[in-house]
């Protein structure tokens, strides 16, 4: 175990890449081998994730203290500018790593049916997984940024080549939006680099943890107005990923056009990177600005919740509805974070995790019906419940999980967000709470139009969900249910770090 334990994060990150490279080397016409290699390469991180789960010490916080990070790998990369290969996990990143491992694997299985250029598809998918893992694992800002950007390319091609009718538009829109965000991030990163020093060596550094030592900042960086600007620069970069109103307009297009498995990854993991970035980078580096900016963040969060739900209700395309529901759900994360209370922060993180699973289910399910009916028009179905009971069962589970029914993880997360944030901003949260009505309304409305009521004869012979698809859905459903009934296993994982984060931020006032 020695080697594995000491390089577990790197292995999780680069094994998929290896698989991708291997796939590219395979000769033409070996599609099945390609699939198997992809499946293996994306499965390998899961046992490693399990290993993380077991070995992770839940009692230490991490956040801004280097020696509290676990599974650390710390090497010099580019000494001349002190870029380091610095990976490590704490309670903020670990759940995300687990989620990434799981969802990516399911995504690979979910793309089994891809016909067109499966080779390139799988290779890109695995590259994408590498990027995502890297983002969650890296503690060096430069490294983080590289992984952050590396994700863009495969995503662009995966949407652009294997996507729906308006794929090109959606792909470039996604690409431009995100790049716009990241160049701002780049500038902020460099500004931080030149205006803070590594306490030990006294040289400039890209090490996030050093950025978090306020003492390491120079006079210019201590100026509050400057800090606000830098914070906003980062915030926009992350807000685009979340996506936060009004930067969310890439999301409906990207989600709708992307192939099923990619929408799953988009909604299941990529969106989390925005909020993760805020937790990992913005908050600890600019605690004072975070406090200053808390109320606007909460308001944005609420706008997301209500506005996203209303938009979802207006959609006639099932996938678009689900996409907007993600907008709504991510609002909870922001609201919870902005509250800066233990319950809120942990709730937000837990919401990231559970939404990752729930929304993945939803997109899988949409994909299932799309594969069979070749359209997603909510009003184009009707009474499917009688034809495909099992499928209906899964959809019902997913929908109720998504509308925050107790017993599913989504409820626990949202409840924690409410409990955590209401004491802080009451009026704002009242609006947020009104979201639960709208969310319920559009979910059930869709459910009714698609599955209930008289059967639409066109789909009398609709084919029932098959074993592979169930294989993708069952684990998610079970986990959602399990963590809904007993959230502690996950919460234990994150609470120490997130509470520490809250304290770190709160300390400045």
């Amino acid at each position: 175990m020695g080697f594995i334990d000491s390089h577990i994060l790197s292995l999780m990150t680069f094994l998929p890449l290896l698989g991708g490279a291997l796939i590219l080397c395979l000769p033409k016409g070996t599609d099945n081998i390609v699939k198997i290699v992809a499946a293996v390469a994306s499965f390998l991180p899961i046992p490693l994730a399990a290993r993380l789960w077991v070995a992770f010490d839940r009692t230490v916080g991490g956040v801004n203290v280097a020696n509290q990070f676990q599974f650390v790998e710390h090497y010099s990369w580019i000494p001349s500018i002190n870029v380091e290969y610095f990976m490590g996990a704490d309670g903020i990143s670990l759940p995300m790593l687990l989620l990434t491992a799981l969802v990516s694997f399911l995504a690979v299985i979910g793309s089994w049916g891809i016909k067109k250029q499966i080779k390139g598809y799988m290779a890109l998918l695995l590259l994408l997984e590498t990027g995502m893992m890297g983002v969650f694992a890296s503690l060096d800002f430069f490294l983080f940024y590289v992984f952050w950007e590396v994700m863009l390319l495969p995503m662009y091609f995966l949407i652009g080549i294997w996507g729906g009718p308006r794929k090109e538009y959606a792909a470039i829109k996604f690409f431009l939006y995100t790049l716009f965000g990241s160049v701002l991030m780049l500038i902020v990163m460099l500004a931080l680099y030149f205006n803070s020093v590594n306490p030990e060596t006294g040289g400039h550094t890209f090490n996030m943890l050093h950025f978090m030592q306020q003492s390491a900042h120079n006079a210019w960086l201590k100026d509050f107005d400057v800090r606000i600007l830098l914070f906003l620069g980062l915030f926009i970069g992350f807000a685009i990923k979340v996506p936060l109103f009004p930067f969310h307009t890439w999301l409906p297009d990207a989600h709708v056009e992307a192939p099923t498995a990619i929408s799953v990854i988009l909604a299941g993991i990529l969106l989390k990177m925005g909020t993760y970035g805020l937790m990992r980078i913005s908050f600890p580096i600019f605690p004072d600005v975070t406090v200053w900016f808390a109320v606007p963040m909460a308001i944005l969060g609420v706008i997301n919740i209500v506005y996203g739900a209303l938009c979802a209700m207006a959609q006639s395309d099932l996938k678009k509805m689900v996409a907007y529901s993600s907008v709504s759900h991510m609002g909870f994360c922001l609201l919870g974070m902005a509250a800066l209370t233990p319950a809120g922060m942990v709730g937000a993180s837990f919401q990231m995790f559970s939404h990752g699973m729930i929304t993945s289910m939803l997109f899988f399910l949409v994909g299932v019906v799309y594969d069979r009916a070749h359209h997603r028009d909510i009003d184009g179905f009707g009474g499917l419940g009688a034809v495909v009971p099992v499928y209906t069962f899964f959809v019902t589970v997913a929908f109720f999980a998504s509308l925050g029914l107790p017993g599913f993880s989504g409820f626990v997360a949202e409840a924690m967000v409410f409990l955590g944030s209401f004491p802080v901003f009451r009026t704002i949260v009242i609006f947020a709470a009104s979201g639960i009505i709208i969310v319920a309304a559009f979910h059930l409305w869709a459910l009714q139009r698609v599955f209930l009521g008289p059967l639409n004869p066109k789909y009398a012979q609709l084919e029932e969900i098959n074993a592979r698809e169930i294989f993708c859905l069952a684990p998610l459903a079970l986990l959602t249910l399990y963590f809904g009934v007993n959230p502690m296993p996950i919460l234990n994982l994150m609470s120490t770090s997130l509470i520490k984060l809250v304290d770190v931020v709160k300390m400045v006032i």
């Binding site: 109103f245 233990p342 009688a386 008289p454």
Partner: protein, 704 residues
């Protein structure tokens, strides 16, 4: 026995999973699993009740707590089981009704393609309902609250092929969510101020004055909103009648006996947190509901709809009872009502099973065909009509008494009593109308009549049992002793002072509120000593304790007589109209056509909501959708527009019509691109011009 309380909900849960997973493959499609689960539950709860009864202690309490969610001590949520007398009674009620309904369904749902699914749903319902009853904190009651909503959704929509059923289940869930919204806010408000979620801790915190005044009133009303939703009180009562689309046993179980009573139970559970103003709101909501729905029931012709509205109305009674301080009365009515209303529904179910219609206009004379059903039905009707000797009389009379007492203390609220009394008459009238039209007179549809037949034993046995439970002697005596009003948690200082605040919550004249406060608090024991110090009005009452007892006594006596009188009146009228036919209902109807149609259309509530709330939301969402596609997505787009405009100013820029955000930016980019490339004419001397121009410009910029 009480140690095994947690099995009561858990067994049905297990049954649910079993039936969902493998129900179809089990012998008898697994109905026995659910039946067994709830049966054992019933046994345990009877055992518990027995223990409680042995103890015979008004303050009996059994409370076990175990941690559920703990963030390093910074944020803790505990789960727990709380059993006191009310809980024990509720357990028995729920389990009994639930068990009987299971039994009934075996016959009623026989041969349904989703038979085992149905029992699974029944089990999940039982689980959530029992969990709701047992839970010890606002948080967990909210959880089960939602789950009950879910199971009701599933059961109403059980025959989802029917569009009406599909609509109904959605409506039920969403309308309930509206109520839950209030519940959530109230609960959040309490949590935000007190920082705890357990009932007792919250009460304690309120005693310590952590939250008081308007805030507390609002919190109370918020919590009560939950009850409004679940218990189908005005203005959220609209879902209940539609919920009758579900199978009849479901209506009996959920929408008559148990779930709808959850609201009442909730109010009773958190009774100590309500401020006088909150109580006023509760009372009047109850009054409005019981009156409106009774009037609607007058004109309804669908047997289940009539029962549904009568349910609303009875729930109104309970709520009002609680609102006017008749804690015991309200819960008593909840208990008795569970029995006889379940009996009525199952009876109607048996009738429908026999004649395959729900329109009473197509029935009649069924007496001869199905005696057992008829008898049990009539017994239950007598109970609901409040005929002495029957359970309904016992409980309803208590409510009226409480109302009258309240009214006598605060004359300007006498309306509460009057309305309730009048409605008691209405109740008697429409219930007997129902009985007569269904079972007596000549059959109006011979074809259906001929096919009618008595239901099998496993259907009429429950009827008999429930009918048996509709006699008052089961309840009188112990109930009043065991179920006693808990002490209000509100420090009376704040309460009275608050009572004095003008224009308090219920929008009633201030003195009214004051007296209301006094009236309610008069019987709160621990309040007395403070009162003289606190507020004069309260003080007066406090001084005349003996007078109070006397007052209460007289109030109840009057209430009893009047209610019996009114009840008889109603019954008599029903006979006059429908039995002897001395008055032709048609004539009456046509003579006051507008009223009739108004009632037939249920006061146009659905239309109203459709027009306002639902339509509004849909419109809003559509607006938002549009806004998102055009405005937000076009925000950058807007920037683009400006960019286009500016660049047009600069260099005769072709005016683009930009669409889409990034396209917008792109258009400006491309546009400015094609603007700049204008210079790239291909003409050499132009190039040199640019060169020279560049030099000169730079130079001039420098010089000046």
């Amino acid at each position: 026995m009480i140690r095994y309380a947690h099995f009561i909900p858990l067994l049905p849960l297990a049954a649910y999973f079993i039936n969902i997973a493998v129900g179809r493959r089990l012998p008898r499609k697994g109905d026995w699993v659910s039946l067994g689960a709830i049966g054992i539950g019933l046994a345990i709860s009877i055992g518990i009740f027995h223990e409680v009864f042995q103890a015979y202690d008004p303050n009996f309490k059994y409370h076990v707590v175990f941690p559920w969610l703990d963030l390093g001590g910074r944020f803790v949520l505990k789960a727990g089981i709380l059993i006191d007398n009310v809980t024990a009674v509720m357990l028995v009620v729920v389990c009994t009704v639930s068990f009987l309904v299971h039994l009934f369904s075996v016959g009623y749902m026989h041969g349904d393609p989703r038979y085992s699914r149905f029992f699974a749903y029944l089990s999940i319902f039982s689980f959530s309902m029992l969990g709701l009853v047992l839970s010890d904190s606002f948080f967990f009651i909210y959880i089960f609250w939602e789950l009950v909503g879910l199971s009701s959704y599933l059961l109403i929509g059980f025959w989802f092929e029917k569009k009406s059923a599909a609509d109904a289940c959605k409506k039920a869930f969403v309308v309930n969510r509206v109520g839950d919204f209030g519940f959530l806010l109230g609960f959040l408000l309490l949590f935000a101020t007190t920082g705890v979620v357990g009932y007792d801790e919250v009460f304690q915190a309120i005693r310590e004055g952590k939250i008081e005044g308007t805030l507390l009133t609002l919190a109370g009303i918020g919590i009560f909103c939950g009850a409004i939703g679940k218990s189908a009180q005005f203005p959220l009562h609209v879902w209940l009648p539609d919920a009758m689309e579900g199978p009849t046993p479901v209506s009996a179980l959920i929408h008559a006996a148990t779930m709808v009573a959850a609201g009442v139970y909730l109010v009773g559970r958190v009774y100590p947190i309500f401020t006088p103003d909150a109580f006023l709101v509760i009372a009047y909501i109850g009054l409005i509901t019981l009156f409106i729905s009774a009037t609607i029931a007058l004109a309804a012709t669908d047997i289940k709809k009539v029962l549904a509205y009568s349910t609303c109305s009875q729930l109104g009674y309970m709520i009002m009872g609680l609102g006017v301080g008749g804690y015991t009365a309200g819960l008593a009515h909840l208990t008795t009502h569970a029995a006889f209303k379940a009996c009525l529904f199952l009876g109607s179910g048996s009738v429908i099973h026999a004649v395959h219609t729900q329109e009473i206009t197509e029935m009649g004379g069924l007496w001869k065909k199905m005696k057992i059903t008829a008898v049990t039905f009539i017994v239950a009707t007598l109970a609901i009509a409040g005929v002495p000797g029957f359970s309904g009389f016992y409980s309803k009379d208590m409510i009226l008494g409480a109302a009258l007492e309240f009214g006598m203390r605060n004359p300007q609220h006498i309306l509460l009593f009057a309305g309730a009394l009048f409605t008691a008459g209405l109740t008697a009238f429409y219930m007997f109308r129902l009985v007569i039209l269904t079972f007596f007179g000549k059959p109006r549809d011979h074809h259906k009549y001929d096919h009618a037949h008595e239901s099998p034993a496993n259907m009429w046995v429950p009827l008999v049992i429930l009918a048996g439970l509709s006699f008052s002697f089961w309840y009188s005596g112990w109930f009043g002793t065991l179920v006693q009003k808990p002490a209000s948690a509100i420090p009376v200082v704040s309460a009275a002072a608050h009572g004095g605040v003008p224009a308090a919550a219920a929008a009633h004249p201030a003195p009214g509120a004051t007296h209301g406060a006094a009236g309610v608090h008069e019987s709160a024991p621990q309040a007395k000593p403070h009162e003289p110090a606190s507020a004069p009005p309260a003080g007066e009452h406090g001084a005349e304790a003996s007078h109070d007892a006397h007052l209460a006594h007289t109030a109840h006596r009057y209430a009893m007589f009047s209610s019996v009188g009114v009840g008889t009146l109603g019954i008599a009228l029903a006979f006059v109209v429908y039995w002897f036919g001395w008055i032709d209902p048609e004539k009456v109807a046509s003579s006051c056509r507008p009223v009739h149609t108004f009632l037939r259309n249920k006061w146009y509530f659905d239309e109203l909501y459709e027009a306002t709330v639902i339509g509004g939301t849909k419109a809003l969402s559509r607006a938002m959708g549009w806004f998102d596609n055009n405005v937000v997505d076009g925000l950058v787009n807007l920037v683009a527009q400006i960019g286009v405009w500016v660049s047009w100013l600069i260099g005769k820029f072709d005016n683009y019509v930009v669409d889409g955000a990034v396209n917008g930016v792109a258009d400006v980019t491309i546009g400015s691109g094609s603007f700049f490339r204008r210079f790239q004419t291909g003409k050499l001397y132009h190039y040199v011009y640019v060169l020279a121009g560049g030099v000169i410009i730079i130079y001039l910029v420098k010089v000046f």
